[in-house]
Each structure stands twice: as C-alpha cells, then as structure tokens.
C-alpha cells in the first residue's frame, strides 16, 4: 500500500488530522450536534421558566376538563359538557371528513380537466387550460372566502329559503334536507356492503387466475359493481326497508328538524376540491404525456382497440408517473383543510386552537396538533411508497 508509505500512522501531524475528511466529518457533526443540543436546552429552559412564571401547569390532564364550547358539525355525539379531548377528536374526524370528500371530488375533477387539456378539441382544451391557470395562481384561502362570503353568504335568509324537491331547503344557513332515521335491522346494510367488497375482490382474484390459465375473460367490473351495490340493497329490502325521514320545517329565523349541511363546510369542501383539482389536472396531464408515443403505436400495431390501448397500455404506465405527485397533492389537500379555521369550520386546527385559547396549554395543544398532522402525513406516504414499489417497473 502506497498510503502507508506516504503517511505512516505514527508520523501523522496535527495538520494531517485537520485535513483528514474522516476526522473533519466527526468534528463538524459533533459541533452541529452540540449547537442543536445547546439551542434545544436553551429553548427548553426558557419555556419552562416562562410557563412557571405564567403559572401554567404542564401535562395532558387538561384534556379531561369540561370544554364548554359548542361545535357546529359533529360526527360523534358532543355537547359543551364533553371534555377537551373529545372536542379535539371531533375536530380530527371533521378534518378526515372534509379531506376524504375533497380528495374524491378533486380527483374526479382533476382527472377530467387533465384529460380535457390533452383533448384534440380546441375549445375543450382551452377551457380546461383557463380553469387550471386561474385556480393554480390564486391562494386557496381566497377561494374559500369566495365561496363563503361571495356566494353562500348571498343566499336568501331562512324565511325566503329556496325550496328544492324532496323537502330540501337552501338558505344562508346552509342546505337543510330530510334526516334519515335508521330503524331496526339497518345494521345489516353496512355488513352486506363489506361482504360485497370482499366477494368482489375474491371473484376478481379468481377471474385473473382463470384468465392467466385458460385465457377466458370474465366481466369482473360489472360483477363487482353488482355485488357491492346489489348486496346492500338486497339486505335493505330483506330487513323490511327500516328507514324513515325527518323532514326539516322552515321557521321564521331557523329550520327545525332535518339535517343540515353548513355553508362553512360547503365553502371549505368546494374550495379545496376546485383548488387541488387544478394541480391534479397538471399531474395527470404530465403522467399521460410521459408515456412514450411508441407504446401507443406498438399497441395499435398489435391490434388493440383505442379503449384497450388506454386501459391496458397507457394508464398502467402513466400511473407510475402520476402516483408520487398525486400523493403529495392529497397530503396538501389534507393540510389545507386546516384553513377551515378561517371560516369557522370546526376541524382539527380550529378545535385545538380553541382549546389552547381556553386552557393556555400552548405546548401540549400544539404538540397534539402537530403529531396528528405528522401521523397522517407519514401514514399516507408509507402507504403510497408501498403502492409505488408495487407498481414500479421491474428492471433488470
């Protein structure tokens, strides 16, 4: 070894250590760690001192205290006598609700607009371009206010409600509609739904195996839809249709009875869907354009029809490009749902910050909020990484 001849270990000077990348690396890392630790300790010290001065007790026992504030939209039972912990859970569920509905709608709109931009039809392509360029370049908060203050707020008051079919009313307090009341035996409907999904998955697996072995095809899609939709309907009818409706009645100042979708929810949901759809449209467009033209040409050379080319050749390859950016758009939508606080929709951020304002437990409340958002993000990206790895091209 020439190294040993050049720098025998016993002859190393201080200078040679200073210029050795290995020791340098260790030195800088120790330095960085020391700075972070000292800075962290300084912050911790200041915080405890400030909290002690303000007389705030630390710990999570405040979660069991009585919340005392009302929440307009709740998926689980909640009154102002419930605990702070329950209020935060209610907010968390509302976040999940608006995020999941928003993701579905944004994906559908985004997919249509993205395909529209690629259309040979000049008018459709231009309309979709205009849509994308408008929504991509204005803040989502402004879109939320547009719906909330600009559109939904200008709807008539309760006594002048717009009456829609099926005893549904639209006014500036939201959309009131008959509330379904499930009777006895209704529990079989969701059970049948789950069974339908399981059966459809099993049949799909069997059909793929059979097609691989014999080449015979099986109408998987229609059977699947039939099972997933049909089984719950059969269960519903078999249980004797256990469903009645409680229609809303328009009063002078407010509606009584029925169920209501609040304008805050509608504004947030529409804004998130329309805004994110413009980004998803670009993701979809990039994905489809990323599939080499030779693939389409090769599949028509093999005699595949255009619809089959799209379904069997283009889409599977485009998905590979689409999935990673699509995931980050879904996460963006979920994180942007925290803007519901600006219009008073009680999602996670909103209920947590109300809790913070009432209890003064700043550190704990923010810790809970950040942990929940981080967990959602990490779980989603883990799932998407797994899905991505499954879809990835197997290369030599």
């Amino acid at each position: 070894m020439t190294d040993a001849a050049l720098a025998p270990p016993e002859a190393r000077t201080l200078r040679s250590y200073v210029y050795d990348p290995k020791y340098r690396g260790i030195f800088f890392q120790v330095l960085a760690l020391a700075i972070v630790v000292i800075f962290g300790w300084w912050i911790f010290h200041n915080t405890t001192e400030n909290l002690a001065r303000a007389g705030t007790a630390s710990g999570f026992s405040f979660l069991n205290g009585r919340a005392g504030f009302d929440i307009s939209t709740t998926l689980i039972s909640y009154t102002n006598d419930s605990t702070y912990g329950r209020a935060i859970v209610v907010g968390f569920l509302n976040t999940l609700l608006v995020a999941s509905l928003g993701i579905v709608t944004a994906t559908i709109i985004g997919f249509l607009v993205g395909l529209g931009r690629l259309s040979r039809n000049w008018l459709i392509a231009k309309l979709c371009t205009v849509y994308v360029e408008i929504f991509r370049n204005i803040p989502v908060l402004l879109v939320i206010f547009f719906w909330y203050k600009g559109v939904l707020d200008t709807l008539p008051q309760v006594r002048d409600s717009i009456a829609l079919p099926f005893s549904t009313f639209l006014n500036n307090r939201g959309l009131a509609f008959p509330k379904p009341i499930w009777g006895e035996g209704a529990v079989f409907v969701p059970i049948a739904f789950v069974l339908g999904i399981i059966a459809a998955l099993a049949i799909a697996q069997w059909a793929t195996k059979r097609q691989m072995a014999t080449g015979q095809q099986f109408p998987i899609i229609w059977t699947g839809i039939g099972l997933v939709v049909g089984l719950p309907i059969l269960a519903f009818l078999a249980a004797g249709a256990p469903l009645t409706f409680d229609p809303p009645i328009a009063g002078r100042f407010n509606m009584t009875g029925g169920a209501r979708i609040l304008p805050e929810f509608v504004a947030l949901y529409l804004a998130l869907s329309l805004y994110t759809a413009s980004f998803i449209a670009e993701v979809i467009r990039a994905g489809i354009r990323g599939v080499a033209k030779g693939q389409t040409e090769a599949s028509s050379a093999l005699g595949l029809q255009p619809a089959m080319t799209t379904r069997l050749v283009v889409v599977p390859q485009a998905l590979r490009i689409i999935i990673p950016p699509l995931t980050s758009q879904y996460l963006n939508l979920t994180k942007n749902s925290s803007l519901g606080v600006a219009v008073g929709f009680p999602e996670l951020f909103s209920t947590t910050s109300t809790t913070l304002n009432q209890t003064g437990q700043a550190v704990e409340a923010i810790f809970i909020m950040l942990t929940v958002y981080l967990t959602i993000s990490i779980l989603t990206s883990l799932f998407m990484n797994w899905f991505n790895a499954k879809m990835a091209l197997v290369e030599r």
């Binding site: 890392q29 040979r120 206010f145 707020d153």
Partner: protein, 384 residues
C-alpha cells in the same frame, strides 16, 4: 448518392406547395379541431352552451352592471337596501375598490409617509428588472444590491429611524406586506434550502438526520400550524423580557416553511447530476465548497428552475395565511373592509375578493411565464 439520370426521376426539388385548403382554411381548422368526430361535436356543443350560460351573466355582473364611481355604500345598494340602484340590481362595486385602493396597497400606513413604501417599491423594481433580463451585465453587483443593500435600506425607510418618523409594523398592511413577506421568504428560503438539501445528501449521519428531521416535520404539517406556532410559541422560547415583533414572527414562520419545500426541490436537482460530475470535480482537486459552487449547483439549480419558481409561487400565495394570525396582508385588509359600515353591501365581499384574486393571479402568472422563458433561455440542448 450516386444518382444517374433516369427519365422518370426529377433531378431538382420542386418548391413547397402550400397546405391543402381543407387544412389551412377556417372551415378546415374548425372541422379538424372542433368537429373531428361525433363525440367532439357533442363536446364542442356542450362547451359553447356552457360559455353562453356563464359568460353573458359574468360580463354583465363584472362590467355592464358595475358601479364605477361613488363614495359610500349607497352607490352599490338597491333602493330597498337604502341605496340608489333599482331593485333586483346586482353588479360589481368597483367604486369600493377605487375608494379603498390606497388602503389595499399600504394598509394603515400613515397617509403622509406613503412616499416611503412607494420609494422602496421604485428601488425594488429598478433593481429587479435588470436582474430578470438575461442580457444585462453585472449580475453579481445587481444581486448584492437587491438581496443585500435593499433590505437594509428598505427596513429603515419603512420602519423609520435616522430622522424619519417611526412606523410600527402593526400599521403596515395590504399588498406591501404581501410583497415584503414573499420577498424575504424567497431571499431566505433559497440559501437555507440549498444548505438543507446538501445536508440531506451528505454522508455525515448526524447532519443528515438533523436535516431530514427538519424537512420532514415542516413538510408534514400545515403552514397555518407553523405560523401559529411561530406566533404562540416563539415568545415562550425566548428568555423572559425579550419581545419579538408580530411581523417578524410571521416572517420566521414563512421562511422556515418555504426552506423545507425548497430543500426538497433542490435535492431533486442534486440527484439528477451524474456521479461523474462529482468525481470529475474531486479529481481536479476542488474542495467540497468549490465543487458545490462551481460544478454541482449551477447544473442542479438550472435543472429545477420550474420547481423553484413553483415554490416561490406557492410561497407568494401562502403569505395570505398570515391574515388568520391577525395580520393585514392584501387578503386580510380586503376582508377587514367587509365589516366597514361605509361600504357594507351585499356585493362588496365578492368585488373585493375578485380584486384581490386578480392581483395575486397577476403576480403568480407573471412568475410562471418568466420561469418558462428562463427555461427556454437556459436550455443548452444537453437534455438527458
């Protein structure tokens, strides 16, 4: 090619014929682009129907029915609401924008001192335009003036000192605040983002872990929670007695948030640089920072210009969130006016939001067009 004179082969090229009339004429274009297949025809009809349904009402509301002058709410309300318009009227109230334009630009900045933000704006444009035009020389000096000298001069001009009257940050507002937040966010997030991206790609485990942790935590939570944290937690983190300006808190939040996103964009560029470039720089005996500064970054940054500009656009739009933590940026000041009794009408909110949206749109669309131009300009034809 050894071409022999064959009687049926033409020895010279013919001039190019114009495209057939069925393609270049207007009806031909319409047939090819609007009515190619029955499905296209139906789609075109639907699109035209949609435009006919939406456009006339929109134009009428925005322009023909709009109110262009007036000094209070009576100009934009119907007789039943206490104004001068006929009942059933609805239209944009541009008079409101005209009346409040100064406020939308400067917030509650004292009226007599507004020459100061205007002067800063002129200096900003005078330094920004030459840096954006690739042909102009002295980019280094220009950048030092724009990112080094201007912020200091602007701070003293806007905030006061040296004989100028002091204007506290709570009085700042409007488009001015939006622009300051975005400019500082952009100027801070790019260098920090580069350092974080280098740290994430470094082979020192502790530095890598610290950078990954910071980036992933910030990217995993909403901006509003980072701003909220900066607003609520920063005073707790500092020793008792230290106060920190609300404006500065928002700046810290925005800059931290943008840095994490910038780091990921730049990491994409770093990963696209072939290993040979790093090894080549090493074999030339360049030090780490020389290698990064002279070989890697110029290539990596050029590759991710669209991503960087997208992050800038995102940052510019995201500054509107500071209105939630009680600051009055452009959106915040427009919202503040919804409750102002001088101009409270059913059409004021929509008019104000459309105006604010248009301003945001202008800036973001401008940035994205400029990035497309830069991409073409820097394209050296070495596309991988």
């Amino acid at each position: 090619m050894s071409a022999k004179n064959v009687a049926f082969v033409r020895p010279q090229m013919l001039p190019a014929e114009p495209a057939p009339l069925s393609i270049r004429s207007v009806p031909g274009w319409i047939r090819a682009n609007l009515l190619a297949t029955p499905r296209d025809t139906i789609l075109t009809a639907l699109a035209i129907a949609f435009l006919l349904w939406v456009l006339p009402g929109m134009l009428e509301w925005l322009f023909f029915n709009a109110v262009w002058s007036g000094s209070d709410r009576s100009a934009c309300t119907t007789i039943a609401q206490g104004g001068i318009q006929p009942d059933g009227w609805s239209g944009a109230c541009w008079a409101f924008i005209g009346d409040r334009f100064q406020q939308f630009m400067f917030g509650r900045y004292p009226y007599d001192e507004r020459w100061r933000p205007i002067l800063v704006g002129i200096m900003f444009i005078a330094l920004l335009v030459p840096i954006l035009i690739p042909k102009l020389p002295r980019k280094g000096l220009n950048a030092i003036l724009l990112f080094g000298a201007l912020p200091i001069v602007a701070f003293f001009l806007l905030h006061g000192g040296f004989g100028l009257r002091e204007v506290e940050t709570p009085l700042w507002g409007g488009l001015m605040v939006t622009l300051i937040l975005s400019f500082v966010g952009i100027a801070v997030s790019l260098p920090i983002g580069i350092l974080l991206a280098l740290g994430r790609r470094s082979n020192m485990p502790i530095i890598r872990t610290l950078c990954v942790g910071f980036i992933e935590i910030i990217r995993g939570v909403p901006l509003i929670s980072v701003l909220f944290m900066a607003n609520v937690m920063l005073p707790l983190f500092l020793p008792t007695g230290w106060t920190i300006d609300n404006f500065l808190r928002a700046l810290v939040g925005v800059a931290l948030f943008a840095s994490a996103y910038m780091a990921e964009v730049i990491r994409g560029g770093l990963q696209a640089i072939p290993k040979g470039q790093f090894e080549g720089a090493d074999s030339l005996g360049l030090s780490y920072w020389q290698k990064i500064r002279l070989i890697v970054m110029p290539q990596a940054l050029k590759l991710v210009i669209p991503g960087i500009v997208n992050t800038f656009i995102g940052l510019f739009k995201d500054t509107s969130l500071v209105s939630i933590i009680g600051m009055f940026d452009l959106l915040g000041i427009v919202r503040l006016n919804f409750t102002d009794t001088t101009w409270i009408t059913p059409v004021t909110p929509l008019t104000g939001l459309i105006f604010a949206g248009f301003i945001f749109w202008l800036f973001c669309f401008g940035m994205s067009r400029y990035s497309a131009f830069m991409e073409r300009h820097l394209d050296t034809g070495h596309k991988r």
